[in-house]
Symmetry: C2
Subunit: 314 residues, 2 copies
C-alpha cells in the first residue's frame, strides 16, 4: 500500500507519526509532501520549519513539552546573534536546530537541491517515511496586513502571534515553481492521498498552489481530507486568523468547501470530521460530499494512529 500525505509542520508531524504507527509491520510506503512556503533565510542560513518539525517528530528528537524544536535544546549561538544584532531577536534558533540549518545551507552551497537535502535529512534517523519538499524552488509566504504593509509569514506568526489582522497571504514567485522530483508520482501512484489536518491557508494552501500539484491530485486514486477544525475551533495553531483573512469561516464545512470536491473541480473525495461536527455532515452530504465522522483528536500516538487508520481505510 502506498500512502502520500500533504502536510505542514506540527499537525502534519503528529498525523504522520500516527500513520507510521498504524502501518507498522506492513510493507506500506509512506511519502510526505511537505509545505516549504514558510521557509526563510535568517542569519545567513536556510530554515525549513515544516520539514524540520516533521523530521524531528518522526525521529523522536522533538521537544514535546514546548511543542517545537529539538529536545534538550540550548541557545548559545542565538545569544551571540542578539549581541551582533543579527536575525530576529524574537525568533530563537536553538543550537541543535542550527546544526540542521548549517548542514542544509552547506549542502545548498554544494549545489544540492531541496529534495536531495530532504533525502539526506531523512536518512540520519530510521524514520521509515520518505520526506519530499513540495518544490525545489524557493517560495516565500508574505502576509499583507491591514495598512497594506507586508511582512514575512514568520514575523506575523511568531512575533505578532497572528494577532495583526491579515488581508492576504501571498507566495511571490510560486507561479514559476514546479513540484519537486517525485511529488507528482507520489500523488498519482498512491493508493490514497491524505490532506493532513494542517493549516489550510499557509500549510496546505502553498502546496496546492504549486503549479502541477492540483493536476496530479486530479489523477490520484483517492484523496481524503481531515478537518483541522473541530467544533468550530482550530485544534492547534492559529489557523482561524488565516481562514478569516481569506474569507473562510472557521468551520469543518467551510474548510471542506474551500478545498472543494474533485467532482466539482476541487481536490477531495472524502472529508473526515470530528464527532463534534457530525451534525454538519448532512449539509455537505446534501451537496454530494462523502463525509465521514472520525476520531480527530490526536492527543497521543494511539489516537493519532486511530485517526490515520480511519483516514486510509475509509
Amino acid at each position: 500500500m502506498r500512502v502520500t500525505v500533504l502536510a505542514g509542520g506540527v499537525g502534519g508531524a503528529r498525523f504522520v507519526r500516527g500513520l507510521r504507527a498504524a502501518l507498522e509491520g506492513s510493507d506500506a510506503e509512506i511519502t510526505v509532501v511537505i509545505n516549504t512556503g514558510d521557509d526563510l533565510w535568517l542569519s545567513g542560513v536556510r530554515l525549513q520549519p515544516d520539514i524540520d518539525s516533521i523530521l524531528y517528530a518522526l525521529a523522536g528528537v522533538n521537544d514535546t513539552e514546548r511543542g517545537w524544536g529539538r529536545a534538550g535544546e540550548t541557545e548559545r549561538v542565538s545569544a551571540e546573534l542578539r549581541e551582533w544584532g543579527s536575525g530576529w531577536p524574537w525568533f530563537t534558533l536553538g543550537d541543535l536546530d542550527l546544526g540542521t540549518h548549517l548542514a542544509r545551507t552547506g549542502w545548498l552551497r554544494e549545489g544540492l537541491t531541496y529534495s536531495q537535502i530532504a533525502g539526506r535529512l531523512g536518512s540520519r534517523w530510521p524514520i521509515g517515511v520518505r520526506l519530499l519538499p513540495m518544490t525545489d524552488t524557493e517560495v516565500d509566504t508574505q502576509v499583507v496586513v491591514e495598512d497594506g504593509a507586508r511582512m514575512h509569514f514568520q514575523e506575523w506568526w511568531t512575533r505578532h502571534r497572528a494577532t495583526l489582522p491579515a488581508r492576504a497571504f501571498e507566495n511571490p514567485g510560486i507561479e514559476a515553481a514546479v513540484p519537486a522530483p517525485g511529488v507528482v508520482e507520489a500523488i498519482t501512484a498512491a493508493d490514497v492521498v491524505v490532506l493532513a489536518p494542517s493549516n489550510p491557508v499557509v500549510s496546505i494552501g502553498p502546496i496546492l498552489t504549486v503549479p502541477g500539484i492540483r493536476e496530479a491530485l486530479a489523477e490520484a486514486t483517492r484523496v481524503v481530507g481531515i478537518s483541522p477544525i473541530v467544533g468550530g475551533k482550530v485544534v492547534r495553531g492559529m489557523a482561524d486568523a488565516c481562514l478569516t483573512a481569506i474569507g473562510v469561516e472557521t468551520s469543518a464545512v467551510a474548510v471542506a468547501r474551500h478545498y472543494g470536491r474533485r467532482a466539482d473541480g476541487g481536490v477531495l473525495d472524502t472529508w473526515l470530521v470530528a464527532q463534534e461536527d457530525a451534525d454538519l455532515a448532512p449539509a455537505l452530504a446534501a451537496d454530494g460530499w462523502d463525509v465521514r465522522v472520525g476520531p480527530l483528536w490526536m492527543s497521543d500516538l494511539e489516537h493519532s494512529a486511530a485517526l490515520a487508520r480511519a483516514a486510509i481505510t475509509l
Copy 2:
C-alpha cells in the same frame, strides 16, 4: 599619528594589541589591513580566521590558553554537524564563534561587503582600531602538495599540521581582486606602515599579491617590517613549512630579501630583527638595508608594546 599594519591572524593580533597599548592616550589612528586569503565557506557560512583572531584578541574575548577562538567556548553545534556529516570533522566551529560566522553570512546575504562587515564586527566592542579586509573579493588559498593534489589551505594547515610537503601556494582569482575601500589610502596616508611578524607566505603574501597594494606601498611614507623568524626559527605557527615551499630559507635575512627593499623594487625601508639575529644585520646592511635590532619576543602585552614602540619610532 597614523599607523597602518598589514597582518595575519594570531601573530598580527598580538602585535596590534601591543601597538594599541603603546599608543594609548595619544590621538594616534591605527588601521589593520588583514589577510583574507585563508577565508572559507564551511557548512554554509563564511569564515574569516584572521579577521576574527584579531577582533577577538583586541576585544579581549579570545582564548589565550588554547591560542585561538573565543574564551569559554562550547561545541554544541559542531557535534551536530559531525552527526550530519557536514563540514570537516577535524575542524571545530565553536558556538560563540559560529555566532560571528552566522552574523557575517547574514550580512553578506543582505548585500554588505566584507569591509562593511568588518566595520560592524569591529564596532561591537570598543577595540580602538579600524579593521579592514585586504579586499572585498573572495580569495582562496590553495596548497599544491607533492603529488600535484590541491587542498584548501585550512586542510593543509589544520588537518595535516603543515606536514605534507607543499610545492606551491596559490590564490586563484587574486589577479582580479582589488584592495578593499580605504586600504590604499590607509597605506599611502600613514606615517608608518608596519608589516607584522605574520607568516610571510600565507598571511602577508596574499595581501601583497592583491593588485594595487604593492603600488600603494611604493607611495607610502615609511614601511617597516618585523621579522617573524628569530634565531632561524619561526616564533609561532608553521611558517617554516611555507617558506620552504617557496624556496625561502627560514632566516631573518632570507625573509627580508623575500620582501625586498623599496629602493630595489621591494616593499620595505627598514627591517627589524631580534637580538639573536644581530650578527646577520651586517650582511643586509652591506646590501643597503636599514636593519635594526629590536625586542621581538611578544611574550606578554608589555613586550608586544615595546616591540610596537620600536617599530614605529625607528
